[in-house]
Amino acid sequence: MSIMMPAADQAVLNRRGEIVAALRAIVPGEGVIDSAAEMLAYESDGLTAYRQRPMVVVLPDTTEQVARVLKYCHEHGIKVVPRGSGTSLSGGALPLEDGVLLGLGKFKRIREIDFDNRVVVTEPGVTNLAISEAVAHAGFYYAPDPSSQIACSIGGNVAENSGGVHCLKYGMTTNNVLGCEIVLMSGEILRIGGKSAENSGYDLMGIITGSEGLLGVITEITVRILQKPATARALMVGFAQVEAAGECVARIIGAGIIPGGMEMMDKPAIHAAEAFVHAGYPLDVEALLIIELDGPSVEVDELIRRVEAIAQGCGSVTLQISNSEAERNLFWAGRKAAFPAVGRISPDYLCMDGTIPRGALPQALARIREFSEKYQLGVANVFHAGDGNLHPLILYDANKPGEIERAEAFGADILRCCVELGGVLTGEHGVGIEKRDLMPEMFSEIDLNQQQRLKCAFDAQGLLNPGKVFPTLHRCAELGRVHVHGGKLAFPDIPRF
């Protein structure tokens, strides 16, 4: 493991037997796992390059148990790492050697479906897709659709503020969550928001969403559900240059059209996907756009005509329009299988997740090509073109000495480039441990201190998921001081704005 985690507390490790017994008293039976063999399944999440066996795994099934576990750990200075389905791509659920891994997998019940108020109240271990399935009979669905939706839990979605292909039009998790029940590290249980459109007081739901398990453990969530669009159709458009595809994306948005999804793939990604799923992708184009329009059929038909005209105006070299659900699904099949398809052409790959302003796409791709030559590693690009979220897949072979280090350096260069172009380090996968040490590329020490002070308001001892998100840990007391003397702040030489 090439990333530093907080040093293990030997005093805590020495008390392991006592801690396991105390947790068994709270969560009886199979809910506490302490054998090395059984804990193997929890050593890693979706970022499999990093592994760590936890001290012990606890799987509570009531809010009360969660509260008692956290209270016990709080009182005894024991670190806790929360985990949903373990599909994080940034290492958000990577265990700690001296930490309790708190799994929410037993919180699997949908508590209430309220069509009149258009909400679902659910436990956090329910999968993203299960929510949509539970309301599908009435024509509703839950809009955010991360590609792992068959497996990822809604609790994890809230922790990571997950996105998906459709968030250009329908928003990310934060735009679709109304309330939660949350247990603080102290064991205190709080309810925030509910079925109303907005909450009173500060927008705590907004800050909890995307906090990567550092502020509290969510035990219930209220999400908004929407009526499914009546129809959806897609266009598949090939371009001889990436620049022309980028221009097409800009003109569609400029024309006031917000597609349900707008995805781009570059040549290596097209070839890998086509070889895998045979979706009929054109192989001699440099960029392929898949543009989906959804809504009433009269609207979709009209928008398809407009987008077709724009694409032709941008010099498209191939253009197909779906005329059936089967055809639309075929267009998507290659895109949706892009990651495993790339997995077939390379022993290993790293998936990056920067976001850039849409207009900077050609520049970003040119830079990525330069990096590819510099590091002598291949790269395939898939891209949520509508919202500027780039997923370069860096190809490497972990069995060849030095390749993983080169791949990581390549990835870091891409993310720095995203920030330089006016973008950000992560669009939807989260910071976790993966991008933790790159945070200073985007934020100053002052920016990060403000974020950490907020963390202190929720978890003053820093026991919940430490080592994630922030490159350096500070004591809360030190962050909370206002250094003022004679009208001047201490350290006037530190740049402050």
């Binding site: 108020n117 800050i207 403000q450 202190c456």
Partner: protein, 397 residues
């Protein structure tokens, strides 16, 4: 800021002062005026973003984006009609207040459109959060906290907001003479339909009676009106309006207002025109109640009956505007007990300074949540320099 922190001098943050009469009277005797921070840093219509300084006039920014056929999709509330102020305020005030209009049910609120911010905290530190792109999960989303914090956390200096294309066409379906509970059901049916409703409001006949302007023609018959808005490309808006009319036909005959007429109605509703400061109810205190939408009709009807007030509904019943006959306590205890029972919360948006001294303007929160909120505030402004006392009633008073 640093001088104020050193001198423990509390500051009131002021832009145009359009919303100074909202919140508790503050324990401040000095202002920090940000109205000179009024530049548009960059506007990129194709990126769907605009970056502006916090003191930029909202009206100017709206004209700028309107010229490119774009808008703030959440319909920022123009509070000037309700409060009787000359200006509609600044971008910073719009975010600090976090008050969104009728389209909130479809497009989200102010919080959903603030992508990034630069601000100065009560530590005297300039910090930033977020960025200039929509899809961003890098670090905590401090923008959410700044929205609706009424200037109690930080002084915003520059912000990046999402802009969206304006709809080509709009239609408003009008149903008449429904009681509040039935109207709530009709709005729920519309919002549960696949026709992508972007506004759903109900005005009892009595709330409309004294209203001038674009709502007056609707009021002519003395009956209540229930309004449902559809927006989009022309062919689609017309098509969906027709389909939805059929869906709602069991609630009565549906009339349809088109484009300009429809726009005027929703503008007036967003401004809370029925309770305008220069209107017949201009001296009554006004509550803004947010509740689970399907409970709104029964709640509003009970409130009107028990308080003797006038009410109307937006957000399909999820937002209730209530003007109550003047009383020293603005009938806060009665109103809040009913609202809380329905799972909602209430804010006293308009009242005299005297009333705002005596009544909790913002919904009091359970102890644990209030304590967390206070710790959060402390993490930005430990000496309570900024807008001291605006969100919490001082114990001394």
């Amino acid at each position: 800021m640093r001088a104020a922190i050193a001198g423990e001098q509390p500051l009131e943050i002021v832009g145009h002062g359009s919303k100074r009469a909202i919140g508790h009277p503050m324990a401040t005797n000095a202002v920090i005026d940000v109205s000179a921070l009024n530049a548009v840093t960059s506007y990129e219509p194709h990126e769907l973003i605009i970056t502006v300084q916090a003191g930029a006039p909202l009206a100017d920014v709206q004209s700028l984006i309107d010229a490119r056929n774009q808008q703030f999709a959440f319909e920022p509330m123009d509070t000037s009609v309700l409060l009787g102020t000359p200006a509609i305020g600044t971008i910073g005030g719009m975010i600090g207040a976090g008050l969104a209009g009728p389209r909130r049910i479809k497009a989200g609120g102010v919080r959903d459109h603030l992508l990034g911010a630069h601000a100065v905290s009560g530590f005297g530190d300039g910090f930033k959060s977020g960025g200039k792109v929509v899809k961003n999960v890098t670090g905590y989303d401090l923008c959410k906290l700044l929205t609706g914090s009424w200037g109690t956390l930080a002084v915003m200096t520059e912000v990046t907001l999402k802009v969206m294309p304006k709809p080509e066409a709009e239609r408003t379906l009008v149903l008449r003479a429904l009681d509040d509970v039935t109207a709530n059901k009709a709005m729920t049916a519309a919002l549960c339909s696949p026709f992508d409703v972007s506004g759903a409001a109900h005005l009892p006949g009595s709330a409309l009676r004294e209203t001038a302007g674009s709502l007056a023609s609707l009021a002519a018959s003395g009956q209540s009106v229930t309004l449902v808005r559809i927006e989009g490309i022309a062919a689609s808006a017309a098509n969906r309006a027709a389909s939805l009319s059929t869906t709602l036909s069991s609630y009565g005959t549906v009339e349809i207002l088109e484009d300009g007429a429809s726009l005027m109605v929703w503008t007036a509703l967003g401004e809370v025109r029925p309770f305008a400061a220069d209107g017949a109810l201009g001296t009554w205190p006004v509550w803004r109640i947010v509740c689970p939408p399907a409970t709104g009709g029964a709640l509003g009807q009970a409130l009107a009956r028990e308080t003797g007030g006038e009410i109307f509904y937006d957000w399909g019943g999820g937002l209730i505007w209530a003007a109550l006959p003047p009383r020293p306590d603005a009938q806060a205890a009665l109103l809040r007990s009913r609202v809380e029972a329905a799972g909602g919360h209430a804010m006293l948006l308009r009242a005299t300074e005297e009333v705002r001294r005596n009544v909790n303007v913002f919904q009091p929160q359970p102890a644990g949540l209030a304590a967390l909120g206070e710790r959060v505030r402390n993490s930005f402004d430990p000496k309570t320099i900024l807008n001291r006392g605006r969100m919490t009633r001082s114990k001394a008073a």
